[in-house]
Homo-oligomer: 324 residues x 5
């Protein structure tokens, strides 16, 4: 689906509403500030082919964009670029991270953005840019920046959601209310998955920051450096979360063992408390003829008393040991 | 066994059926687009020697190709190259990865491919190329690309098979249906093995991508970069799987301990439930002369009732504790 | 809040008390030794905008300084720099590390320091510098050094506090007085967090040390190298602490298991000690007509003696095994 | 002990039997293909001093060769080189790796090899070379290659031996026949030790491969690259083995816990099976006057039957639970 | 304390006994072979200031030397250097590594060594050098080499001491004589600490080896390379020890669990062995009127026999299971 198709010149949109890609491709200008931006969402193969022909996109890049499920990357083809980004969205109810993909074809005078899967659209980035003609007239590089910036900003709620879940899991572990092993494992799985979306992005951003892409001038480079710092911060957070989840799983294992110790001690105490009076009873169940206690009136009450005393003494003893 | 032996010029196969290697070697041309491709499968030593002499292959490379069991690598000998690739195929029934090897000798005007072990042949790559004369006329470099591309594409079903197995193992761990330790271990073993097939391939691909091989021109380099990205994605997937399997083993250990706690609690509850009425019985088994209860009609039923009550009370108590 | 605003020339403060930022900006000099230093603490957005306009600070840097929660970094904008530092303060009672942030805008003739959150102020660094005119006349670079030096020096009490806690935790683990799992986990969490404050600082310091910043001359570089060494030492300490905490958690797990073994042995010994006399009693509780012992006067005392002997023998036996 | 001392010219040994080192040193030629090779085995200090003086070996290298226990390395002294190699031999009975050391002094026109400890000699490498005059006339570099090649080839049986042991250990773990913890640990210890012999060799080999040693010409470089690939493969194998042994230890721990669960369940089942009939017996051991069952002929057989039934029912119940 | 203060020219000490630092500073020569060496041990601040003024040492280096507790490093100040080394000494009784520090100020014509803490002095290095005029006349670089060499040589007994302890710990783990968890932990702590003393030394040594310090000529570089190799070997040993201690802790944990299994099996066997005869006794303790066995003379001995047989049979059974 073609979401929007616009022509910008000198930082200003040249018309209202979307135009046709053919119209757009005919308007591709020479100057940096004069370009068209076509936004696609889950395009059909026909749409991709049509756009690829109009803008002469490279066969390999088009193939990647059709199949999606690429890793984040930046590929340069002489005077054009192909950029893959992973978007992430955190579903709090299911504690899962949903991933989408944005592919960008950038060349002189045009930018084609292809969005795959649900998730935040690029409309926000487009509107934000249209309000900043000073940036927008930097040409497609500014659009790339705005999109990467939005994608990376959208990572923040994901790390925050995971942070909240880690805190809940810590509480579950240390208050021993519920068994958090499964939850910890699947959180870690999410974090590993998320790391794979963020981490490969750092190398292309490094390359842009260090001036490796001539199409990005010094001033735009600073904007990319700013995004790069945010991405690095996200990546460091993700690494910390991974380490924390490993530690919390270990802590949980230790506490399960400690809990088992408690249970064993408690049970054993009660077993001892019942075993002693049972023993006393079996003594007086012996059939010896000459057991003087058996013939005394006071024998039975004394035996019962002895049993009661043994229970009390043992209970106190184990309570002092802290076993019950 | 010589599988196929063909002469290509300008991207077009010059004849039907295979020719003899001697015929092929006599046709080795000067121009990039004019070359022969000989495909061998598990060749005998005699075949290797024959081919080596015809194309003047380097002694060390030939030795490696005869012995197989090399690590993936790219070696250059002045104007020719020796490339080792590991093929992987996933057997779902046994949950094992089967490895094969493809060795490529590439020089001006010729390419010799040597395939070891079972596994996908190169016929697919050959047919695909023959349909793309624009690529095929790039010469042997295009053939190398097509083969590497096929090998790396064949890694994908392997990672997917392992992904499926990991999901089954997770289910086994968290539903506690079966004991998955052995399965987890052997899955991890497969993943470690697979990593060794994929990882060493990244360095040669990096070298080609960065233009280190002059025989690969700028356009072909892009095709290799595309393969390289897929290989890196496979490698990142493999690393995630390794980490997941480590985590799932730890989670399993925690759950085994938790399960043991449950068992101990359950058992202890039942022991307590039987110990109390047994104690009551032993009290009335005592032989004191003066035990008034013994002489009352109602004594026995009351004792039985006391036993029953103790069983019910204890059962409720442990049920409330969540122990049974 | 504007904390101080001073004009320095030739290493000497040119006036007492703070001046207005407007006054300060009008005094910005040409020479390295002639500069103004404005100190802000938790500034309002209006204050930041006012300062940004006066000194022509870069939009992105100002945005970062307003939002705080950046990672330590050094960004250069042609002739000016933006530096982010994380301050750390250890609260001993709660065993937590509290983090603050200092952002520095450095340009020719001015330095703006923005402090976020509670924590040590920069007054100490300012006074220390004012007593060292030889350093102060090196210009803003000397101020940056003094601030970084103070921030890194303030890391030391944090690592020392954590070291003390690790020692307490070790004692808890090996004296088995209390259950330290939770404490170990949260200490590790602090250490991971602290690592994230210190580690990203090393790269910018390396860059200054290796002469990557022309505004810092060779002599100042040595001062930064000294700070860099301290920061690296802190980072190595933090890494050791992380490893120690991992090990102590593992040691704790082993000791919990060992403790469980002890408990099981002890309990089982007592169970055996009571089971044997109970068995003896049940033997003489049998109702056979012809049990000669039952009819002998000495039967009962002998039975009691046998029970006592069995208890003593078993007790000695288990004591020798070291089980009780 | 001087094992052999030979003079080679143009790839051909110039005499039968060994000559004296003095004779050899006097024959040191100018041309690359004209050199002497002296082989020592566990030389006395006097022998080392004598050789050192004859060939003007560097004091530090000689000291290292006398003390042995160096790490693998390549040191260059202007026109001569000192190389240290670790040999490894696997003793299958004891599952231990025995290490030896070979030190090589290489200069223009001479090569002194010093072998320490038991283990394969260099005779094989010498004979192999003497059959390959084309290589041998490349001079001492060819001899170095032949020795390194043999040393690295001898690593292969070590990794294979360890592979076999790992398979045995896996069987022990998963068939739960024997307790493999100690064996796993000492295998891991061997692997760590072996890694230390192989790993430091990679850097010198890399240096030779990349042409860092001018005494090794382009053709010989290929031979070293071949050895380097084998060494890298060994190193990757060793790393996999290390990881496998870590995993198998973890798997073993999990299975020990699982086994404990089984034992606890089994034991508890039997305890319950005996507790219920014991309880029945104690009920009828009560001394109430009015227990109608006691006076009926059928009482006793019914009680015994009830006991038998309880045993059977409980047995079936626990068998269905899978506990016994 | 000033330990020694000597003037060397052409590799020969120019006088007996120590001279005053003032005298020494006045003798500082131009030529490399003409220098003074002042050795301090735990100097007072006054002594440091006096020396710093005489030799014009850099403020920052002097501050570091006064505070000690620096990390190993090499700092160059134009024509002079500041070097920090960590000395290590192993106390076998307490199994602890004691660390000291040596700071070296090296400039043209002088070397000031400052030793902190107990531990081996530098007298050995001084005497060894005085016997080697050929080295000593290389100037202060030779002295630096001799000191670094001694410091690194002194690391060897530390690693050997730790190796011995690891072997003892292994024995404790696998012979299950004592509980080694605490000892393993504190050994690991020592190893981590030791790593921090050795590891940072490698970077400065690398820098000297690669010729980064012009004051060290090619010949001296070889001597430093030799020390560097020893330091690297120590560092690799330390890393192995760290890994071994991690593994031995894991092995210990596994064996503790295995031991628990053994105990549980043994205990359960004995419980069963006593439970069965107790059950038999309670059967004949029942009060049924019609229990024919009770009235037969042979009843009691048969019952006792049945008990004895059950004990023997069960004992044999559990012995065959390997539980007792």
């Amino acid at each position: 689906m073609i979401v929007d198709c616009a022509h910008y010149r000198g930082g200003v949109r040249q018309h209202e509403g979307a135009m046709s890609p053919e119209e757009a491709s005919s308007r591709v200008g020479d100057a940096q500030h004069d370009f068209v931006w076509i936004g696609l969402h889950d395009p059909t193969d026909e749409e991709m082919v049509r756009i690829a022909e109009l803008f002469n996109l490279h066969e390999l890049a088009v193939e990647d964009a059709e199949h999606a499920h690429q890793r984040p990357k930046l590929e340069d083809y002489d005077d054009s670029f192909f950029i893959v980004l992973k978007t992430a969205h955190y579903h709090d109810e299911t504690e899962t991270v949903h991933f989408g993909e944005i592919d960008l074809f950038v060349g002189p005078g045009y930018l084609v953005s292809v969005r795959h899967g649900v998730g935040t659209g690029l409309r926000g980035a487009r509107l934000r840019l249209e309000e900043r003609p000073d940036l927008l007239k930097q040409g497609p590089a500014a659009v790339v920046w705005a999109i990467v910036d939005q994608v990376v900003d959208d990572y923040l709620p994901v790390t925050e959601g995971i942070d909240d879940d880690i805190e809940e899991v810590e509480q579950a572990v240390f208050d021993e209310e519920s068994e958090p092993t499964e939850r910890i494992y699947f959180l870690k799985r999410e974090v590993i998955e998320f790391h794979r979306a963020v981490w490969p992005l750092l190398a292309p951003l490094d390359r842009i920051e260090s001036g490796g892409i001539t199409a990005v001038d010094a001033e735009m480079t600073r904007y990319f450096r700013d995004v790069g710092d945010h991405a690095r911060r996200i990546d460091e957070t993700v690494n910390s979360q991974r380490e924390l989840l490993t530690s919390v799983l270990e802590a949980n294992l230790a506490l399960v063992s400690v809990g088992q110790n408690e249970v064993v001690k408690q049970i054993s105490s009660w077993a001892a408390i019942i075993a002693v009076p049972t023993f006393i009873a079996s003594v007086y169940g012996m059939n010896f003829e000459h057991m003087p206690e058996l013939h005394q009136r006071i024998g039975y009450p004394v035996a019962l008393l002895a049993m009661a005393v043994s229970v009390v003494v043992l209970s106190l003893f184990f309570r002092r040991l802290g076993w019950i």
